[in-house]
Symmetry: C2
Subunit: 364 residues, 2 copies
């Protein structure tokens, strides 16, 4: 790991849950001095044992560079006020999943907004607590920053540095816009996942025994801590309700169409139309690292029109450890030649193309 050359050399993490401890581990890897505090002594101890930092004794030293408040949304402003009163840090941020609420409460409590930049890393797991923490949790993930008009440029700079040290990509966005955004890309999907999973609670053992990867993916996040998520959802109640109403309407409409179809009645178009809208929507999700909305890279190869040549091409892929995700074949009319398009992980494309060339294939 490259040591941190920037301005942040000491950080206090307030709250050693999944996010706080993961940030602490990431900062430690970059040589930052990390102090930890949590009102749960067990969580604090586990975070320390994991190498996330040392216990914070506020009286022992002057202010640290940055305080990261990693507590549930409804407690952020209260923590901020206490830290600022004790002059704990030069700059302050938080990592709560909603942003309008803590900002409004900070105004209400009379916190100093010049030193505070609200933030939210879009990273999480279905497990919580310091034991689930990972130094690489934020790698390549978006990290929203919602500076207030009062936020000092130096405070924004310090928090941008935190984001960079954690390997995440900063996205600056207005707090209200942030909350609308996470309602549609995080909070409502979470509740929908729970509603699908709730049906499994009543399903037969036979049904559960037939579970494939699809239902596992759809319901993975439903395994998250209900108490934690009640806090998040209540902090963004209006925007989440609006999305859930639209989802519920679409599902009720699909159910109606299926009922009518089963009764020998009307056409099934509303269901097909919903599936089309769904495919269009999921196609808009950008690549993991902020690239275009394409999951695979296409490697083009010219092959002879002989049976078995494609199979040999797959053997080469296997030899170099590349997984082929999709194949398209285009024959050149009148010629014993074809062009084949192989979809592979973007990181594997170059290796694969080189291996194919080495085996004598034409890769344009």
């Amino acid at each position: 790991m490259t040591p941190n050359q920037g301005g942040i050399t000491s950080v206090v993490i307030v709250g050693t849950g999944l996010i706080g401890t993961s940030a602490a581990l990431a900062l430690r890897r970059r040589g930052v001095r990390v102090y930890l505090v949590d009102r749960d002594p067990g969580a604090l101890r586990l975070a320390r044992e994991l190498g996330a930092g040392e216990e914070w004794h506020p009286g022992d030293r002057g202010p640290v560079d940055l305080a990261v408040i990693a507590v549930p949304p409804q407690f952020v402003a209260h923590e901020l006020l206490g830290l600022q009163k004790n002059d704990a840090a030069r700059w302050y941020t938080d990592v709560a999943s909603v942003k309008a609420l803590p900002l409004a409460q900070a105004v209400q409590l009379g916190c100093d907004l010049t030193t505070y930049v609200p933030g939210h890393p879009l990273a999480g797991r279905e497990r919580s607590g310091p034991g689930a923490a990972r130094a690489d949790l934020f790698l390549g993930r978006p990290w929203a920053l919602c500076p207030a008009p009062e936020s000092a440029p130096e405070a924004v700079q310090a928090v941008l540095e935190l984001v960079a040290l954690c390997g995440a990509n900063a996205v600056t966005v207005d707090a209200a816009e942030h909350d609308e955004a996470v309602a549609v890309i995080s909070h409502a999907p979470h509740v929908a996942s729970a509603a699908v999973a709730a049906r499994l609670a009543e399903a037969s053992e036979t049904a559960l025994g037939l579970s494939g990867q699809g239902v596992r993916d759809v319901t993975r996040i439903a395994a998250s801590d209900p108490r934690l998520w009640t806090g998040i959802l209540s902090g963004n109640a209006g925007p989440v309700a609006a999305i859930l109403e639209a989802v519920a309407d679409d599902l009720a409409e699909a159910a109606r169409a299926l009922r009518e179809f089963a009764a020998g009645g009307a056409a099934i178009e509303p269901v097909t139309e919903l599936l089309h809208r769904g495919a269009a929507g999921t196609g808009r999700i950008p690549g993991k690292h902020g690239g275009p909305a394409r999951r695979y890279e296409v490697v083009q190869v010219v092959i002879g029109d002989r049976p078995g040549e494609l199979a040999r091409l797959f053997q080469v892929a296997e030899q170099v450890g590349v997984s082929i995700e999709d194949v398209r074949l285009e024959h050149v009319p009148g010629l014993p030649l074809g062009a084949v398009e192989l979809s592979v992980q973007p990181t594997a494309a170059a290796v694969f193309a080189a291996a194919l060339r080495e085996h004598g294939w034409q890769v344009p």
Copy 2:
């Protein structure tokens, strides 16, 4: 690959889409002679080029051992009748996602039920067509079999052999029970995934830029072919509608509770309660290979109560390429010793335990 020692030596695959071609590839690996037929010459050609088998010319030879009908649910019975009239195979099965409909149509068309065993492998991808096929698609997956009372034991035996050759786990279940089951563990989750993804079609670029892993998982299957899925859903309309109605009701109720909460009103309990039901439901999904509903294996280690020891233990994990999914720490009161429970992928547990012992740790 071990060659097939059993009774099935020749198979015709009718329909070289994702499932048909994957089964063909799996059978070829086990030395079975595979014949292919598809009304789309492009799909048939691609399957052949991938090494899935040779083109079928029904007149050239006697009946094969088994015909696998891999066409959409509404065409299964029609194909079955045609194959039986030509005496194409000794035994017949299909792989459609619904089972009551093809069975009822087979009865209606006067098919011979003694040689036919309806089946359904619970495996799929969000991509379709022969280009997305994989020989290992069925490995460790459930494969439902729904023999009719008329099905001959020899027919059941032949289809069980097909399932074994593909590396899947056979689950025998009544056709109606199968359809109720897949409504809850596959079809309704699919529509719910589409309804969540449909919201992304209208979301802002900013919102999409904040997408994390959660929404990707929930909406992955929404990328599937809408036409294919309309066929599946229409073939199981009643059971799917019932589940979708319950999901829609839960989501509408959660939206109501959030609206009231946002207005400063009632408590948010209905939301918490739904999240709890969701967590209970997802916890009932069995392990991938049919084991108990636990995703990770726990490795127990005894460690000294010194800071950094846990971090060193993580270093060993990293060295042997094992990812630690969760950590729990239990201190022995009055002694400078602790027991730590590390959750890892079941396949990694033995390797990890050995590496820890090698480094001097006590692993009971």
